[in-house]
Subunit: 319 residues, 4 copies
């Protein structure tokens, strides 16, 4: 392996830069060259790249986002896009590729590997919806961002007497909602995986109110409902004045947590070592204290099962 390519794809997440830095420096210290493709698979198709050395990745470990930029690329989902990508790789003499991204991006990685080009995938998605890794890159930072904000809101909640509905990310996956609900001591959690009943929430809010507990925090995953919808139902049903916060893209960025810096560094280093060892068509993943690899085809065929222990734990502890 003399030359390695690397790209970030899909929604950005904190820790991508740590993975890029580790991959580049591991490759350079092994005598290889590295090219970084800009804007994910789009850059691969357009042969839009930059040569990357030790100093290219200096000082990026601390920063959220991705220096290689990222877009969602529909063109790459089809044969012609993939052939154009292969051509770019061949033209540049790249012999192996590292793809950092979420489930869509990992499917793209798998497609390229199936066409005979060696690829290693690194799971990055703040939703934590990828199977075969305890944690995806960016989840820990996103959770800490959310909790930092909700801790602030709780100061007001304890000073006034109001119900706050806070909308967090998570289209198909309630991981962020259910973990942060535990971590802030929220009273209610609404996730896409479990049916919810607003009238039951209203009933319990009224019970709490009769006990003299007038404030409450409700965390809702965007894939289950919008915060506005929940707030309107509560106000319409029992007349409680509620306040809405939509954290939006605040959750995604910011200086990565130590967890994400370590995870990104380990993923990036291991991805290069695997390509050098001739392994490919796999995704690196965290498994306890170790980094383990799983075929991309297995990853694509699996859905991460939520921990039943986590779902509902906030409610038990929020009594």
């Amino acid at each position: 392996m003399r030359k390695i390519g690397i790209l970030t794809s899909g929604g950005d997440s904190s820790g991508m830069n740590a993975a890029i830095r580790a991959a580049v420096r591991t490759a350079v210290s092994g005598g290889m060259e590295v090219v970084g493709f800009r804007k994910g698979f789009q850059g691969l198709i357009n042969c839009d790249y930059m040569e990357m050395g030790t100093m290219t990745v200096a000082g990026i470990l601390q920063h959220g986002g991705t220096i290689l930029h990222s877009v969602r690329c529909k063109e790459f989902m089809y044969e012609p896009g993939q052939q154009a990508a292969l051509k770019s790789l061949e033209t540049l003499g790249v012999e192996g590729l590292i793809v950092i991204g979420g489930d869509g991006s990992l499917k793209g990685a798998m497609a390229l590997d199936s066409l005979g080009f060696p690829v290693i995938g690194i799971p990055a998605s703040i939703d934590n919806d990828i199977a075969f890794t305890d944690m995806s890159l960016g989840v820990d930072t996103a959770m800490n961002n959310i909790v930092y904000a909700v801790d602030c809101i709780k100061d007001t909640a304890s000073s006034h007497e109001r119900t706050f509905v806070i909308e967090v990310m998570g289209r198909n996956c309630g991981y962020l909602a259910s973990t942060t609900a535990i971590a802030v001591g929220a009273e209610f959690t609404i996730v896409p995986e479990t049916p919810f009943d607003t009238s039951e929430i209203c009933r319990r809010l009224q019970t709490r109110y009769r006990e003299g507990r007038n404030d409450a925090i409700i965390i809702v995953a965007e894939g289950a409902a919008t915060a506005r919808e929940i707030a309107d139902k509560i106000e319409g049903c029992i007349g409680f004045e509620t306040r809405v916060t939509v954290l939006g893209h605040y959750q995604r960025g910011g200086a990565p947590s130590v967890f994400d810096r370590l995870l990104g560094s380990r993923f990036g280093k291991r991805a290069v070592e695997m390509l050098v060892a001739g392994e490919h068509g796999k995704m690196v993943g965290l498994c306890g204290r170790s980094i383990k690899a799983t075929p991309l085809s297995e990853v694509a065929a699996s859905v991460r099962v939520p921990d039943p222990e986590m779902l509902g734990m906030a409610e038990v502890l929020g009594i």
Copy 2:
């Protein structure tokens, strides 16, 4: 002066606890007793109070919100409510009162003082809309909260290529919006004090786009428009995909900044010293490096004029 009362009223802001602590400890070290009324003027009317000593206020300096709780109290706007309040104060033997809150609360303080009961006001309002003080309590913390969140969003903005519209507090006053826009390097600021023209913003967004600068941050004060409205207009007008964040009550709370801890401590100490010295009917305020007092009637009659230097400065520096 043998006994002092204290209360917090209106929207909570970070630093209220610092002011409570300083007032209590200054009073206690001067040999006075202190009672704290719960839930603002409502507690005054209902004679809902707690006795406060040195240890009651231990460990609160670090926390947002207010340990005395706060509500907006309509009943106190009228004569019967005010008479009930006077009766509570007389019953408890309180000889002077400190009111911590925003413009409405300071008007309540003035009303009570006009009825012959000595009151000192402390300006607390994250909008920074009170005249005769360089800064109100809670503004600095709120600005830092906003900027922390927008710094995170900028990581994503620089990784993807999108326009972000972020809604911050400020009903009649664009202070938070215009200062945080400077502090994050936002491209556009929309405040209530100045007319804005969405089509002009769209035109400039398109110019930037043609120059290859596809990301932009727009800070909008809630009193001028909702973030959703601005985003919809931009999408409708030039088709740019935009993202919305409504920071909501996140802005209000959290551990107070050093600025607010110092300001609250100085305000609380000075308020007690003034009552002891027989001064009343005044609001303490920050004036450069000094704390100065202004009659509450002058405060009520004045509107804080925005700094023309600040308004528009973000646009000059965001070129």
Copy 3:
């Protein structure tokens, strides 16, 4: 099980309050009573306790330290102290005990369990030196505290041209030093587990200097050397001006990270469930995505082996 006791022992760590809260609320919702012993085993010996209900643990999830306080207690290492502890437990009608602490505390827990009283241990130690758990309570928060501080120092390091030596905790274990070195991009790491050679560090500093790279970050675990010693050797050997920071107890406290809030919540809940199920003499531990229990005797007999992948990784990536 009708009544459960709980205590925190040894050095405090962030997340202890989360574990206390979860244990109390899990017990209460299962119909049990809870008593908390103050100041660790000392409180057990002196029968110094508080009854704990749902509201006793309200609002503590966000705070570092431990509301039950903690000391190191020599008296409990010997038979008479342990007998006094058993007597307290019997007098109060406590039927099971949860001990939260580091290796010394877990040995105390084992001693009590051996005497026939059911005990469950929860590993809490910022050194991460306990076997049979991927992470101990407080490690993640400590790492983030360290990295926050060193990120600040790096701003100065890149503006001036100096070598900074930063001393972090870790008497026998270099986990904190080696992980944070990776996370900040430090150039050198000095840990107790591996011999180090200051003259080799000096030689490499000079090589970097000749390449025009004049700044460097050295992370040293307190168990290997003091920062002052390393700085003095570098100054004496090659004359470089160095700056020393000793982070001290700053590392230990502060609002717990989400990781530690979740870990503490899960540990506390599981500990109660195990006591109820009749399990005892065990320590709960994190094993990948699951909580697993290990006999305290096995824990006491084992030493956590450092990950060879982590040791030295900073140097590879810091090229």
Copy 4:
């Protein structure tokens, strides 16, 4: 004015980058060119510079330190160094210079202005020891850094029972020590401006101990004593176990607070406007809500007088 120079000198402080950015963008939008000299006056002497445009300063507002780097330069204190500097400025066609730094740097600025070259100074020094400005650039960030760390230490202080001695910056000036002591609720403050008596501190520590208050925070400015010295005296005198933290350069850097971003932006903009208006030989300073200018000669001849209100306030409130 067609071309402006800018440099940062002396110890770095957070907000320097905000000032650089504002100066560059104000100049560029006024049709001027800007050159930045590297490593302070040394770069001026060596004609080591970079041309600066709008994009050179993109994304630096958020970062501590200074992109222009900074050193202390003895050579510039003497005539030959200053003449070399003038020659560089003439060669490059620079017509006005902005110097960002502390008292030594402002004296350098004055010397150059006296030789007939128009200079404007911007006060930047975390010690806040410069007269004619309410605050110097970097002070607010440094205070928040210190307080963040001491808040963490207080968690441990309240969980264990110990005296913590924390050393902060301030060679001749106790501003940082006295303000942060108020902001964290420290029990004792030791500053260079006021004589202190360790045996008095010991006596009061023992009184507190007899009252059951065993923990205490002592903030010491480095110019008064080292934390180690104070800790040793306390241990030697009354046998209390104490813990030492030396915050070191952690205080200096990190993402600037909003206060410092605004102050730097306003200083940088105004400095350019003054040069354009033909004003020079002055330092910009914060005076309440306004920016005011003072002749550099007056600044050099004055010493900032500490606020007597601040000194000793921590002790009053720490009762």
